[in-house]
Symmetry: C2
Subunit: 296 residues, 2 copies
């Protein structure tokens, strides 16, 4: 079953238009359309609001039973993605964790260059911490570029002496904007989603001249001391696997509690393909369990 | 003061990129950006929801005192615009009328061709009518293409025997997709917003082969008997002025109560430029007063 599912997913991804023929506005629109305009399930309350001056969408399913909160940082290579593109994942997380999910509408490059995404996460998180009666314990969750941005935000918060979140979970985080690790070439033909050349283009829009190895842009090069308990889920077939393994090793050496799950045969942010991949359902459940174990 | 304001607005519009060099995705993104991502005033509750299976955003300011409702149909030539692009106008309407405003996220062309926009308005309105305890009396308000779509929707509802809304208000409605009236050429150099060639392009995307003089696409050619009390506000300088005058005459001959306000020196949907145009503030106030007089 899993083999059939991933084959179908690979067919879908292979049929996408070539990114070199696609404007950034088209890429953003296509990604938002994945979130399904006007397809809101009836059990979902969805509120547009602000956190720390940054737009966000609060997703609360009827299954919400607790006062704790998830702050979600979407992916899209720092140049695309939105609360709308990732709405489906947010709805599932709200249901499975039983908590509201705040999908951050952080600024995208090139309009908002480095380190705007990181600072937007910091601002939103700080406002949530300032209102504990409203938000309770906080889990910080993100995928791809959002995973990288949230880890950089954690280092900013740690250095500033802010209290850190109760739990952190990253799906396929992008941790090296210099794209230097061997898996970018070793898995180039295996990864149907990401390419080194495409990621370097997106990175240069975001960095706007900053050093790609600046630890605030590429947290695989950051000091990870004192970060909170973290779950990382990654597909074995994606070009990010080497930087994620290196990050996990560095984190453990620095004394962090990091759980790494490498899902065989799975690809970048495979959680997005729930209808086709049983592993997507299983991984999201395990992510929700991890968060709930830290909320207790 | 008004002269200074409209001069500044004209300068802003003249500086826009040429539409022939702009992809549809870029036009949509630019229009959405006008709505101001992440700039939600603190007194606004904004909920994403569905009405009749169509996505919409419900705007409710702290000033909401009544249980009546406004269904808003945004403009954008049937190919652009969204609840986000028109959020500012929705917030002001909610404040001034004291009612929640439901900004309909109807399907755009070319993805959703004629008569999708009209049928989406019908679906949303019918769901609101089916839940009178929740929505109360309903006003239908729209601008530009949204004004045309809502008038077509009214003719569908009338023909089907549905109860009609308590009040209808249109800002610069686009009522002739064949762009046949004299003002398209007479005011071509005066109107800084709309051009006949651009509108004909957008119309062909929406019509997808349908007759531009089909009354459901171009309600200036429709039977207007039995439509509810209506306020129409238009700028004297816009290319739509002739079809709007013709529509008002036809409506009055058919026995409708239509109030037409032609605002001197003003342009297409001038309500969007509140910060620069005192007339924008005045016109929106009068529109709100009209709705409230029908809610009583």
């Amino acid at each position: 079953m899993a083999a059939v599912g991933i084959k179908k997913v690979r067919e879908i991804l292979a049929a996408r238009p070539d990114r070199h023929n696609t404007s950034l506005a088209d890429r953003r629109a296509a990604m938002d359309a994945m979130g399904g305009r006007g397809k809101l399930p009836p059990n979902v309350d969805l509120k547009v609001m602000e956190l720390g001056g940054i737009g966000c969408e609060c997703i609360a399913t009827k299954g919400v039973t607790q006062t704790n909160s998830i702050l979600y940082v979407h992916g899209g290579a720092y140049v695309a993605g939105s609360p709308r593109s990732h709405r489906g994942l947010g709805i599932v997380l709200s249901e499975e964790v039983g908590a509201p999910v705040f999908m951050l509408d952080y600024g995208l490059a090139p309009e908002c260059p480095f380190p705007a995404a990181v600072l937007d996460v910091v601002s939103a998180y700080r406002e949530m911490r300032q209102r504990p009666d409203e938000f309770g314990a906080i889990a910080l969750v993100g995928d791809s570029a959002g995973g990288g941005a949230l880890i950089s935000a954690l280092t900013v918060l740690r250095d500033a002496g802010d209290p850190l979140p109760s739990a952190v979970a990253c799906i396929s985080p992008w941790l090296d904007l210099s794209c230097s690790f061997d898996s970018y070439t070793r898995l180039a033909d295996t990864d149907p989603f990401l390419s080194k050349s495409g990621l370097l283009q997106d990175a240069s829009l975001y960095l706007a001249g900053a050093d790609p190895k600046n630890p605030l842009a590429s947290p695989v090069y950051a000091d990870l001391t004192g970060l909170p308990p973290m779950l990382i889920q990654v597909g074995s077939e994606e070009v990010l696997i080497d930087e994620i393994n290196t990050f996990v090793d560095a984190g453990k050496l620095a004394g962090c509690h990091i759980t790494l799950q490498v899902w065989p045969d799975m690809i970048h942010v495979f959680h997005a393909f729930r209808a086709l991949l049983p592993d997507a359902v299983a991984a999201t459940s395990q992510l929700a369990e991890f968060i709930n174990s830290k909320f207790e």
